[in-house]
Subunit: 241 residues, 2 copies
DNA sequence: CGCCCCGTTGACTCTCGTCAACAGACGTGG
DNA sequence: CCACGTCTGTTGACGAGAGTCAACGGGGCG
């Protein structure tokens, strides 16, 4: 062995064995309370995913590559982004446990996806899913509703980037992340300042300064950079609408 | 009469008559070369739309309203936007002839839609469409693909707003509009400077100054504010990537 | 142990926003 | 027909918010 496994090889291996096992041996089967098991959708057990893993900072797919697979995050976190030729980068979304990513219009990815942290995913072939969609209105409706949800997120981000100040952007972002982590108000950010900056259309320096400012205002407390405790009422007051 | 017709009343009127006629009497039937006729999709003649008209600056639906209808532009132009409580506005899209808008996630609109100019649309009830989608995989797939196309546009806008300068934003916008009008390089903008500014996350003054700057650089020529002739090679060079 | 990366902070710059004035187009009504 | 007000678009002067460049501390990893 020694050569790095690819999604394709993992898929071939999975098909030659029954039952399905993770290539990393951590095949507990059902994901982290997402209620999906290894199926694409909760009520669609015939589209099974193959477990796969990516290391921190590893690329999952690149812009322009053939969109052969789609992915569901089981554990860890992934970012999708686009880059301009001069290196400016815009992250269009973070995918945490449970979220599905990799669907694009057309046959190639128009984003790059990378693992923020060591990440376990389920991989699904795109073709069978699309074939299933053309036969099953139910599958197609689920895909539609997923796309619509993503669309709403993208448009919220549009408003954030077009019309909000640095402070409002960061506050909204933190409230959003808190919500995705259960809304306890305390969590560890899985992404770096650079990732946050490239998501919010800012620079790392501005993000850092804005963190300090929010802390001065008593809207949050930092313990060691990534670990955050929010004062949610004050943060929401910053976001206001 | 004298009371303003609503989509609901137009629909009721349409159903009491056969064949279908526009409430404004301009019922040439098939739309402007979009190839759709009055059907929702080209190959889906059973979902028929009712012609309806809106005056310049008239609201079609508001954020938070019940999403009872969806719309296809026959002639004219429409903008979708969101507003913050302090009045800051972000336009998330312009809908020109042929484009379908008004689909949202959930039962209420999360945007406001307004006619930029006098506009003729076809109105479709949302419920029957959704019912059709749950029965017909083909309809559902069309809806999915439409949502995915919108998603790509929204993410392109995200990159524009997050990482591009005023000049790049305006140049990209003009190239985009030119493309939608057939790519001749000469057209009349259907929207005001304010609309452009609110789409590009800028102010009207910056838009105006950037127009002047692009004109100085020989990237376009203005004849009377709205009428534009692009020097497409130079504009694309500004956009670069 | 040392290097590198991440995060923070300071000083300065610059793009874009704000405030203001003005010109031209348009519609209305005297 | 012209005076008037309004709306759109342009331009100038100025200011503020975010970007750039640079230095530095701390922690993790080889």
């Amino acid at each position: 062995m020694g050569t790095k496994p690819t999604p394709r090889s993992a898929l071939a291996a999975a098909r030659s064995r029954t039952p399905l096992r993770s290539i990393h041996g951590n095949g507990h089967g059902s994901g982290h309370g997402t209620g999906y098991g290894t199926g694409l959708f909760a009520d669609c057990p015939d589209l099974l995913g193959t477990p796969f893993s990516y290391a921190r900072e590893e690329e999952i797919y690149g812009e322009g590559e053939d969109a052969e697979f789609v992915y569901r995050v089981v554990e860890g976190a992934v970012r999708s982004h686009k880059v301009l030729s001069d290196g400016r980068r815009q992250i269009t979304g973070f995918h945490l446990a449970g979220s599905l990513f990799g669907f694009e219009q057309g046959d190639v990815h128009w984003h790059t996806a990378e693992a923020l942290a060591d990440t376990r995913v389920l991989i699904f072939q795109r073709r069978p899913i699309e074939r299933a969609a053309t036969h099953s209105a139910e599958v197609a409706c689920q895909l539609w509703s997923m796309a619509t949800a993503n669309l709403r997120d993208a448009q919220d981000l549009t408003l954030l980037l077009g019309r909000r100040s640095a402070q409002e952007r960061l506050a909204a972002f933190l409230v959003e992340v808190d919500g995705r982590f259960g809304g306890t108000g305390t969590f560890a950010l899985p992404m770096t300042r650079r990732d946050i900056a490239d998501y919010l259309g800012l620079t790392i320096e501005t993000v850092s300064r804005t963190f300090s400012q929010l802390e001065e205002d008593g809207a949050l407390r930092r313990s060691g950079g990534r670990q955050i405790t929010l004062h949610r009422a004050r943060l929401r007051h910053v976001v206001e609408n």
